[in-house]
Point group: C2
Chain length 366, copies 2
């Protein structure tokens, strides 16, 4: 691999000082035309590209933060990233910055866009979303001297060289378990993603930890599949067919939770009365379906604020060590979680009465 | 008001040609340092700012399209604008462009951001969303010589000076009426927005036109309020209390439709069997609630493609006359619309049987 040309190499080849090369790029009117022409020719010849980090630091010229727009996957995690984009635009704007959004299909294409934007000096830095195991993007950006902050932990990397902000998914699923245990549930299942997904594993561990802390069984109470309503339905079906079926589901996503709710309905039971369900992400659907879905909500505004704060402090050069920020989500309690029915799936009078009471309090007009 | 300084005024004051002033901004290395210094000083002194349009045309430098990110209003129209942003990023990317998204609270603030982005030459043009009566933004942009395309018609403006792309809402609500009439409904109500809202009025007119074309009554079948689930519920309640109650609702939004569905449920009836409901926008909620909501879907990808196509052709200077593009939406038929019950709200055996049949066909596993 060819060594990346430095400003010193250009200066030596053109027979000028380091400062003159810098001026050619940043203050061309300070140079005599013939000098400018020679330096620009040498820059071109060697393929020299000024360090983006150094240039950003010096000029902070663009006022723009680049961020990939991930495909919307409502009910899944995509809704959260749309909410994050809104929050990011708000937080950036409050600091005089805007967000440049781009849509690509793969991480490699994303790196291609990073490269293009850096070459054209079109952004000051990036927010990197959707981090995952084997993610090649952070190292690429660090090697380029680019400034960025990740939304998501550096899964599988022991000594990350960059700053990140993430939501503590495990604490969210722990809270869900504690809520359900407080309603009398003991067989609380987890509907999760395949192992090796950082976000999915984190949420699984929170469920597992809380169950063990409460002395509740975890055997035969975990089912895993790719995210989606159909998956959630199939997994819930499978667990409800078991001899010792769960009375509650903690789900890795709202999509899984919606699937579990369909399964419960198709079995002639009622979610929140016969079987309880907790989703994750509090997607827009959660508050409008019937019964309304209890779900763990990510503090998206807080995440966006932290991302911008850290990125701007890195851009200003006052911030040298990578930051690590983990924010806690919280459970939004709605109608999909209720007391454990006293005898199997039979609707107890008590359960039915409490459900009627809740519904009436929401609809005083009926 | 002071006259905006022109390139001629700068050239005269600095004692140079028009071309020299242009070079000072775009090719400073072509000028002798003392000339450059004098011209830049005069530019500064007069507050001259090159025409953005002319500069974009010449340089097409940024590869960036600016677009305000409107607050998400899931269930309402906000979801459509999020979908549009994704589609816009895709369409822009396919042409080597990116989208700069910014979030502001008011049109005046939006103009402030336009001004800032134009001054800093940070974008080549804009997509203007959420056009409305008395919209001051298009004229401001035209007067600045900025390139832009609106998503939304220039409501209330007879001779717009800019290009726009919009969705033919009236044809969507007409299709909804025809669908319901085909199912035997004759008293088909419209739940709309207050008069004077361009989008709302357009959707109302489509309902009205189709009803009149079919010879159906329109008296006492319209209710209006601000968008929202609570509004939809209240309006549906009001119409269902009337002596000659409707058996179907065409709604200006999915939020209104969700409200109508709640009202129907709270009255102990079933949507799709006792009363039919059609929403507008096919928001993510529509396909996951029970029963699934029939809704008019906007061709967001087509809109984004047209917006980018028109903007780029205006940027390239090949496109001189404002374009006007109206795209047709289509009705997505789901379970919230069914045959008119033969006697009032009583569930007919036929209706119940056909509903059971539909449900079974969707859930082969149960």
């Amino acid at each position: 691999m060819k060594k990346r040309p430095t400003i010193e190499m250009v200066a030596e080849r053109a027979g000028v000082s380091r400062q003159t090369v810098s001026n050619a790029a940043n203050a061309p009117h300070r140079l005599r035309p013939e000098t400018l022409k020679r330096v620009l020719g040498t820059i071109d010849e060697l393929g020299y590209r000024p360090s983006h980090a150094a240039r950003s630091l010096r000029t902070r010229a663009t006022g723009v933060i680049g961020c990939r727009l991930l495909p919307s996957n409502y009910g899944g995690t995509g809704g959260v990233l749309d909410r994050l984009l809104h929050a990011l635009c708000d937080a950036a704007r409050a600091s005089g910055y805007n967000v440049l959004a781009f849509s690509v299909g793969t991480d490699d294409e994303e790196i291609g866009v990073f490269d293009d934007l850096l070459r054209r000096n079109a952004v000051d830095g990036f927010v990197l979303a959707n981090t995952h195991h084997g993610d090649v993007r952070p190292d690429w950006l660090v090697d380029q001297g680019a400034r960025f902050v990740a939304f998501g932990r550096p899964w599988g990397v022991e000594r990350p060289r960059h700053s990140w902000v993430d939501v503590d998914g495990a604490s969210g699923t722990s809270e869900a378990v504690n809520h359900l245990a407080g309603l009398g549930h003991t067989r609380i299942a987890f509907l999760g993603l395949g192992e090796g997904n950082g976000v999915g594993d984190d949420r699984f561990h929170g469920w597992q930890r809380a169950m063990q802390d409460l002395g509740l069984p975890v055997e035969d109470l975990v089912a895993r599949a790719d995210d989606g309503i159909a998956s959630g339905k199939a997994l819930a079906d499978q667990l409800l067919d078991a001899p010792q079926a769960p009375t509650a589901f903690v789900c890795v996503s709202d999509a899984m939770a919606l699937g579990a709710m369909r399964c419960i309905q198709d079995r002639g039971m009622e979610t929140g009365r016969d079987v309880s369900v907790v989703g994750f992400d509090d997607s827009p659907v959660a508050s409008v379906i019937t019964p309304r879905l209890s779900s763990v909500r990510q503090p998206v505004e807080g995440v966006a604020h932290k991302l911008v704060e850290i990125l701007l402090s890195e851009l200003s050069g006052t911030h040298r060590r990578p930051s690590r920020v983990l924010l806690a989500p919280w459970l939004v309690r709605r109608d999909s979680t209720g007391e454990r029915p006293s005898t199997g799936y039979a609707a107890t009078q008590k359960g039915a009465a409490s459900r009627r009471g809740r519904r009436q309090s929401k609809s005083p007009s009926t």
